[in-house]
Amino acid sequence: MICTVLTVVAAELDLNQYFHGLNIIVALTIAVFKASLVVLFFMHAKYSPKRTQLVIIASIFWLAVMLFMTMSDYITRPWS
């Protein structure tokens, strides 16, 4: 569990070398990994009934839809 602490440090140091907009992908991947550990183990999602797991996945999916659709709306607007 405490290796999540190490990933904080890793995220800070690594980002000093990356360019080309890749650092956000690295940072978010690490964040997703950390959050998954918290959800699965601290929050016992791994040991929860399937119904609960469905609710968790549904809310993540719904957020993804909202982010994706809103973003695609904006970036497909003509230059103004």
Binding site: V8, L15, I24, L28, I60, M71
Partner: protein, 217 residues
């Protein structure tokens, strides 16, 4: 009220009752995901529109304070998980110890946040309150960097508000645990407030890289 943790009429088993309580908390957390999600959306949109501004503004917040806070908060999630475990194992004294540890770490987090906010106040980076970004007053840079700082205060402020609510819940848990109310058969409040606390931690796990780690060279 579930004062003694007895089985209520609509449930077939205690197991089902417990699972239902947990599911209820998860559904509430789903609404919270969308609550914060709106702010994350705003962030995503504005950062993709003004990447350089966000980068410049982000460099002025103290990285190591945010990093320490991340460690503190994940630590508090660990102590919270230990508290839930202690309540399941019937270790009542340990339960109280871990709950107090979680509260202490949460308060440390809020204290560091207060330090950061004060820093921003001194640097004139609070939108609408003597705002000025940089050495010389420049209206267009001010207008755009204010976007970043509005999001910074909005998102961390909402998060801090959730932490304060969580701290209040923890205080209640500590009080009840001192009265010996939680047993391996009945630890539902500990578990579900634990879920809430972990959620607030997860929000910060995403806030930290998005606000503090933009293009650090």
């Amino acid at each position: 009220m579930h004062r003694t943790g007895e089985l209520f009429g609509q449930y077939k088993t205690m197991e089902q009752q417990r699972e239902t309580a947990s599911l209820g908390m998860w559904i509430f957390l789903s609404t919270e995901v969308l609550f914060f999600g709106g702010l994350f959306m705003t962030y995503t949109l504005n950062r993709s529109t003004y990447p350089d501004i966000f980068s410049a503004a982000s460099k002025t917040i103290t990285l190591w304070l945010g990093a320490v806070n991340t460690v503190v908060l994940i630590g508090s999630s660990l102590t919270m998980a230990m508290a839930v475990w202690a309540s399941q194992a019937g270790k009542k004294k340990l339960l109280t110890v871990f709950l107090i540890a979680t509260l202490v770490l949460g308060t440390v987090f809020l204290g560091i946040k207060a330090v950061e906010y004060h820093e921003k106040y001194v640097e004139h980076h609070i939108p609408g309150w003597n705002y000025q970004f940089g050495e010389h007053p420049d209206a267009s840079i001010d207008a755009h960097t204010q976007l970043f700082f509005s999001l910074y205060f909005g998102m961390t402020g909402l998060h801090a508000l959730h932490m304060i609510v969580g701290a209040g819940l923890l205080l209640w848990l500590i009080k009840e645990s001192l009265r010996g109310r939680f047993t391996p058969e009945y630890n539902t409040p500990v578990e579900n407030i634990g879920l809430y606390w972990h959620f607030v931690d997860i929000v910060w796990i995403f806030l930290f890289p998005l606000l503090y780690l933009i293009d650090r060279h």
